[in-house]
């Protein structure tokens, strides 16, 4: 493969005219729906504001709560649930990030199948039973995942980076939790987390597929009706800007040094969202054609994968440059990456590059919503982050008039290259050139 393809749920970008319908259920869940024809499929994504940002000191609680959905209900045990979904050909899944705790269903939309798969899905989400034996097993699985992360230089770097950038903020810890915090979590904690956060007012329902609006309303109603009404979760604390540069090295017996360089970023409602989006696209977000890839890979052959990224979340996320290179040239790559960022902020962006970046985003916009799965992700993001419903329709308009000055101002205001967090994971080089 020419370059590494990234699957990042939180990357934003967008499409052409989509007819998004929206309403609230009587219990207070927000619903976004797009009817698509051509394939007899329905996708449902339930996005609860119930992820690791909301779990307090019990790191891993949100993720465990999500992972036990589907293990048992008041009426069925695990094998019965699995068999029920499988015998309908329906796909049930759940995962918990830092903002969103997601439970989803993909099913055929034929009435006889849809009704049954929706019933079992509703039961799993609204009437879970948190059993000790499944919690014990899930904890063991998570401890294995933590060990798996410990043998991956990329994971080690990312964990250290988040810790350094987010400090006291809940984004500082990983959604799966830590060895120390997992042990003490009880089924009572899970029930409590569920009762507080898996409630209608704290839920965004995204629906995409071949069903009518009337049907979609029934579906949303059925799900939300089974939940407590509850309260919307409180907003996260504010992410504090970094006071100082941090240079963190972690020794690891790998052939490559993994480098993460960055800072605190922005949230989705930041006034400079669009200039930063376009700027990052040009700087390091557009694969081999980006400036960063040009300097590190195309001109010097220093790395296979090199890119930059804004994580866009409820609270300010992070800005990150990421690359891996053999130990001996790690310092060189690091210098070039920082220098490239400095140049980008301080010098005029090439006119052609600006135009190319815009043309790529605008001309390829239809690709962003070319599948039901893509549309589902956008509905979830729009609903969860309270973006305007015309977010997709106006996206290209917002991009097209941005000037190089807009981008530079936005970057200069946000990023202080004297206060970068730099994490390197790999073998230490003698004589430690900084």
């Amino acid at each position: 493969m020419k370059f590494l393809v990234l699957f990042l749920l939180l990357v934003s970008s967008v499409h052409a005219k989509l007819n998004i319908q929206h309403w609230m259920t009587p219990e207070g869940a927000k619903v976004l729906f797009v009817q698509t024809k051509g394939l007899p499929i329905l996708d449902i994504s339930l996005n609860f504001d119930a992820a690791s940002g909301k779990e307090g000191e019990k790191y891993g609680l949100a993720s465990l709560t999500n992972s036990l959905l589907g293990s048992a209900t008041q009426y069925r045990n695990e094998e019965q649930i699995i068999n029920a979904f499988e015998s309908l050909g329906a796909q049930f899944s759940g995962y918990s990030l830092k903002d969103m705790s997601i439970v989803s269903l993909r099913t055929l939309s034929r009435e006889s199948i849809l009704r049954k798969s929706l019933n079992i899905f509703t039961e799993v989400v609204t009437q879970p039973s948190f059993k000790q034996k499944y919690l014990t097993r899930a904890k063991r699985q998570i401890l294995q995942s933590i060990r798996a992360a410990q043998q991956s230089p990329s994971s080690i770097a990312s964990i250290a980076f988040n810790k350094a950038v987010f400090g006291e903020h809940p984004y500082a810890h990983e959604a799966i939790g830590t060895q120390d915090t997992i042990g003490n979590i009880t089924t009572k904690d899970l029930k409590h987390h569920y009762q507080q956060f898996f409630v209608a007012k704290n839920l965004i329902i995204a629906l995409v597929g071949d069903v009518s609006k009337v049907k979609a309303k029934q579906i949303a109603r059925q799900i939300s009706h089974g939940l407590n009404i509850g309260q919307k979760a409180k907003a996260n604390p504010v992410v504090k800007p970094l006071n100082d540069a941090q240079d963190i090295h972690i020794d690891f017996p790998s052939k490559q040094t993994h480098l993460l360089i960055g800072q605190t970023g922005v949230n989705r409602s930041h006034p400079d969202f669009y200039p930063l989006y376009l700027g990052n696209h040009i700087f390091g977000g557009s694969g081999l054609t980006s400036i960063l890839s040009g300097e590190i890979r195309e001109k010097k052959g220093l790395a296979y994968s090199v890119y930059s990224h804004f994580s866009q979340m409820q609270s300010n996320g992070s800005f990150t440059m990421k690359l891996q290179t053999k130990i001996a040239q790690a310092n060189k790559a690091r210098k070039i990456a920082v220098q490239t960022l400095n140049n980008f902020i301080n010098n005029n962006i090439d006119k052609q590059k600006l135009q190319d970046g815009k043309d790529n985003i605008i001309g390829g916009f239809a690709l962003q919503t070319a599948s039901n799965a893509n549309i589902l992700t956008y509905l979830s993001i729009i609903g969860f982050y309270n973006l305007p419903l015309d977010y997709l329709d106006t996206f290209t308009d917002k991009i097209k008039d941005i000037s190089t000055q807009d981008i530079q101002n936005a970057f200069a205001q946000l990023i202080n290259t004297d206060k970068l967090v730099i994490v390197s994971v790999g073998q230490k080089i003698k004589n430690n050139g900084k």
Binding site: K2, N83, G89, Q144, K255, Q256, N360, I361, A370, S371
Partner: protein, 442 residues
């Protein structure tokens, strides 16, 4: 190399048109130009976009030392300029026209693609046609890209313990004189030493219309695609010198290897030599093996991971669509504190039970068939998945009809067939294995 996306969608089926092989009914047109270029078009008008892929019938299975990895290296160099465009310009032009592009190399093929708005079809086909014959291989670009690929190898394999296990499994399971022995990305020593001339030879030998298939899926008209293909590819001559490769896999059995690596988690894989759909004498057997892989994956996850909790993960896999004889693999990470022999013995018990009493899988078999039918419909959601299967099946020589008969073939498999095929192929005395014993990362 790498098919991250593709591995998530490894089964196909077709419930809606199960009895029909009429490709036109599926919106598919298939023709071959006079110079041998195959063209497959599938219309899908759900969005005003298309994917255009060009597949070459050459991959790692055609390589041998000292030029392993050369198909993949050439794939990288295909972005480094032609007589008409400078290095990197291909991707830049596609990008400023709203597209994204990439490529992938595997055992039996190398493929390139562009995803774009439907108004850019002409550009995509024109650019792809240009680099079929006008690649300019320059040493300066090659030396940089060699380093990039070596970094890619470090990232994907050298620093990834489980990837090393898979690499070693192929080393012991396939003879070096045949296919599938060497890694797709190549041995480090070969990557460091081959020369521009080797790439040039590879390019000249395999990049010709009669060794390629153009697949376009999306909001396009078949006539329009064919006309553009004729315009841009039609000028190239049929190349009579393409050696019809026949370097089948030569399988070794009863081999094992232990890897002590800087890692935290143990990992164990064992493999059984099996035919693929392409090489089997009786196609029914290949589908039975495919069904066996689903049933076992499911059954072992249930018993060993969820119930007994002696493994933290387990995976069963069979490469139905490989060009040559292949492997049926079982891999697992034991639960903490559990030794591999305990897991292995539990696996054997489950397989023995299935062979002795096929009725135990009756319900699982029915559910699996239902899932495969639904999954086929789900897979139509992505044009890239659709074009992948069309291009891959055409390139390995199975024919794209294979895609539409899959569900019927799988539905015809009985519990007895699954038991029988397990008995025939899962002979533990012949199995190969690679065991990773973690040494910690300190």
């Amino acid at each position: 190399m790498l098919k991250k996306l593709i591995l998530l969608f490894f089964a196909l089926s077709q419930p809606l048109f199960a009895n029909s092989l009429d490709l036109a009914q599926q919106g598919i047109t298939q023709i071959t130009l006079g110079n041998g270029l195959k063209i497959i078009v599938k219309t899908d008008r759900r969005a005003p976009v298309f994917i255009s892929q060009l597949w070459y019938q050459v991959g790692a299975s055609d390589e041998s030392r000292p030029t392993t990895g050369i198909s993949h290296m050439l794939e990288h160099m295909m972005f480094k300029g032609t007589d008409n465009y400078g290095a990197g310009e291909f991707s830049k032009i596609i990008a400023r026209n709203g597209g994204n592009d990439n490529a992938f190399t595997s055992k039996d093929y190398t493929a390139y693609y562009q995803k774009m708005h439907k108004s850019k079809l002409d550009l995509a086909i024109k650019m792809e046609a240009d680099r079929m014959r006008h690649l300019r291989l320059i040493n300066r670009e090659f030396e940089k890209e060699r380093q990039v690929v070596i970094e890619e190898r470090r990232l994907r394999i050298e620093d990834n313990p489980n990837a090393k296990v898979f690499e070693n499994l192929n080393l012991i399971s396939f003879d070096k004189k045949g296919a599938y022995h060497a890694p797709i990305i190549g041995f480090q020593g070969d990557l460091e030493t081959y020369r521009l001339r080797d790439l040039r030879d590879w390019y000249k030998r395999y990049y010709a219309p009669n060794n390629a298939t153009l697949v376009v899926v999306g909001d396009v008209w078949a006539d329009e695609v064919i006309a553009l293909a004729k315009k841009y590819f039609g000028i190239y001559k049929y190349n009579p010198d393409i050696a019809k490769n026949n370097k089948p896999a030569i399988v070794h059995t009863g081999k094992s290897r232990v890897l002590k690596l800087k890692a935290e988690l143990p990992f164990y894989i064992l493999s059984f030599p099996v035919p693929s759909l392409k090489t089997t004498k009786d196609k029914h057997n290949a589908y039975a093996l495919d069904m066996l892989s689903y049933i076992l994956d499911n059954r072992l996850s249930k018993t060993l991971v969820r119930e007994q909790q002696i493994a933290s993960s387990i995976s069963v896999s069979y490469s139905l669509y490989d060009k040559y004889n292949t492997l049926f693999t079982l891999s697992f990470t034991p639960a903490k504190g559990v030794d591999n022999p305990i897991v292995l013995s539990a696996i054997k018990t489950q397989i023995a039970e299935l062979i002795k009493n096929p009725a135990v899988i009756k319900n699982e078999l029915a559910r699996t068939k239902t899932q495969l039918e639904a999954e086929f419909v789900f897979e139509q959601d992505r044009i890239s998945t659709q074009s992948y299967y069309l291009g891959m099946l055409a390139t390995v020589g199975l024919g794209i009809e294979t895609m539409f008969t899959y569900v019927d073939k799988m539905n015809a498999i009985s519990t007895h067939d699954v038991a029988q095929i397990a008995k025939q192929y899962l002979d533990f005395s012949q199995a190969n294995s690679v065991e990773l014993i973690p040494q910690g990362v300190k």
